[in-house]
Structures are given as structure tokens and as C-alpha cells.
Symmetry: C2
Subunit: 206 residues, 2 copies
């Protein structure tokens, strides 16, 4: 049985780091930004447009399609998100068929449902998310606490909306996942050995 | 550092079984119905009244105080829940001071917050909860699906209300817990080795 682990996460909760570390510990690939690159390259889309579809509101994503590395092919505006969604499904199916892996974001839990993935949701309290965002900020970026909070809320609202394209289950509601883990005030690497064991148990018994 | 693990759970999710098995695997005591017995015995309350405070609405619990093993001491009706709540807090503090343990229900996650417990919430989809209730039903009890669903909703509503006495955080909302685990369609015992590892990681690093 292929072991596919999907990670959905709140912004600043450390879910991406957790996915990478978990994949390393299991010795399997982790797909994160790679998926966006694959969708963009194979379909001639702008990478930033694809990335923004899940993180920013769809309207806000449009200006980014002008004048960047991959030009959008001429098509009615309404078709673009659909084309990206179709491409995303195809790429995720390809990845799943290759074998065991961790997939971060991109609604992989919903799209790959028939592969019976282990679906993990990573969350944290607002203080922890702000602190993590601050510690990871690129040099020269000095957002205030208020600005960071606004960014966190915006990204999460758009992840929620993005999921609505694929599923009736709600982004972030525990019923949609197998395991939800609260990283408030914790170092991500300390959680990895426990999760490795969890993954092993889960797939051994399923 | 004392390792206290609290288990809160949806009715029929297997949380109680998970608590017992986890405690056995860790070689530490599990407190579940024992707490109710202790509260009742040490304070002269009716055991069923104490049990029902968290499972049934407070009004529905009253008739049970008449004519049972432990008579309620004469006191104004309004004081009874408060007396039980105080007794519960004292018993939980006593248990926590004894050392490592698993505690099922009774708002132990909130009451023992200062002991930094690992707080686990166990949940499942309605089909799984109904199936578990049916397989555990006492001989002769033949509730219909509809009746079982009603019982599940009622018990959960009252657990939610009971928690409101102690905390602003909401019963069953993932933010109130460290780890939430979905037992839908799974045998509880298959999850225990993973949780043992999780507990070990959690307290090693904290």
C-alpha cells in the first residue's frame, strides 16, 4: 500500500517544516513548492499565479500573471483557475502513482482521497504563528505585529476558499483530517519522531 | 516532570478505551469512573448524580439524587453542582500530585492546566460512533439508529455545557487540545503504539 501523507496547515504553524522533516525521517520525497513548479512548467502558467491561487484571493492573483517568467496563454479569465485546477489534479495523481510521499498543501487530501492518505492538520495559537513568521522573515522585512496578523488571516482565508473548490469539508475543521497537531510554543523537530511512529502504525494497520 | 495525559472524547469515539490502553502501555494508572466514585464517597454524594452532571443536563440529573445509595445532604439545589465542582477539583489535584497518569473526561485538561498535561481529543464520524455504541450495548438494549444518534448528540451537548463551567475554550474545538485524533473506522488498539511514542516525545522535549 502506498503511504501518502498530506499536510494541511495554518500559516506560521510550522506545517511546511514538519512535512519536510517527516519526509526526511521516513526517507521519502516531500512535495511542496515542487508541485507549483510542475503545474507551471507543464502547462505554461506563471508560477506565481499558481502559487497565489491558494494563498491570495483569486482576484488579487490576476495582476501577477502579467509580465512574469511564464506568460498566461490567451484564454478567458474565467477558465484560468479551472485550467490550473485540472493541471493540479493531474500532477498530484502522477505523484501519488510514483509511491510513498509527503504532500504539503494543494488540497492533496481531497484530490487523492482514493489513495487513502493519512491527513494531518497542523495548527498553533496566534502568538506562536506571529513569532514563527517573525523568526522566518526575509532580511529587511520588518512587518509590525498587526501587519503579520493581517497576513496570517488573509492567507488562511484564502486557503479556506481554495479548499471550497474541491470539497464540502471545511479547511481546518478536525473532522476533515485524521490527526490534528498543535505546535504552539514547540520546536517542530521535537515532534518528528512521534509522527514517524504514528505514520508507521497508521499504515501497518490499515 | 509529571506526565499527565488528559483524554476528552466524543461519545462512541473509543476515547475511554484509548485512555485505558494508553495507560496500560505506559504502565501508569488511568482514572475514569474512579474519579466519580472518589467524589461521591468522599463527599457523600450520589454516584449517579455526579456522573450525570457531565453527561446529562443538570436539570435531568436531579431526580437521580432521590432514594439512591448516597443520599444528597440537605442543601439548596443551586449549591449542589458547585459542591460537586469543588470536590472534583480537589480530587483531580490529589490525583495529579500522586504522579504520572491518564485522566478521562471531567475537564481535567482545564482544571489541571498548571501541571501542563498533554491534552488529547478523540473523535469520529457519526457512522463509526453509532457502530461502536451498538457493538458495546449491554445485553437486551436494542436502540434504533435514530435513538442512538439522539443519545450521542445529547451526551455531547452536555459535555459541552459541563466544560463551560470551567473554561472559555470550547469542548471539541481543536484549539483547546494538543492532539486530536480521528478514530473513524479504526480499531483503538492499533493506535496505541503511536500514541505511546507521541507521549514519550512530548514530555521528553517539554
Amino acid at each position: 500500500m502506498t503511504r501518502i501523507i498530506t499536510i494541511n496547515r495554518e500559516f506560521g504553524s510550522g506545517g511546511r517544516e514538519l512535512g519536510k522533516r517527516l519526509a526526511d525521517a521516513l526517507g521519502i520525497p516531500c512535495y511542496d513548492h515542487e508541485i507549483i513548479e510542475m503545474i507551471a512548467k507543464e502547462n505554461g502558467f506563471d508560477e506565481r499565479y499558481v502559487a497565489n491561487m491558494s494563498e491570495k484571493s483569486i482576484e488579487a492573483a490576476y495582476p501577477l500573471t502579467i509580465g512574469h517568467r511564464f506568460a498566461m496563454p490567451p484564454m478567458p479569465v474565467i477558465e484560468q483557475p479551472i485550467r490550473v485546477a485540472v493541471a493540479q489534479r493531474e500532477i498530484l495523481e502522477k505523484i501519488a502513482k510514483k509511491g510513498d510521499c509527503v504532500i504539503v498543501g494543494r488540497c492533496a487530501d481531497v484530490i487523492l482521497k482514493d489513495y487513502h492518505p493519512l491527513d494531518i492538520f497542523v495548527y498553533a495559537d496566534l502568538d506562536s504563528k506571529v513569532a514563527r513568521c517573525q523568526s522566518r522573515a526575509p532580511e529587511g522585512e520588518n512587518l509590525t505585529r498587526k501587519e503579520l496578523e493581517r497576513r496570517i488571516h488573509q492567507v488562511e482565508r484564502n486557503r479556506r476558499q481554495f479548499r471550497e473548490m474541491y470539497s464540502e469539508t471545511k479547511w481546518g475543521e478536525k473532522e476533515a483530517y485524521d490527526l490534528c497537531i498543535n505546535t504552539s510554543g514547540r520546536e517542530i523537530k521535537t515532534l518528528v519522531p512521534a509522527l514517524v511512529e504514528f505514520v508507521n502504525c497508521w499504515f501497518r494497520e490499515n
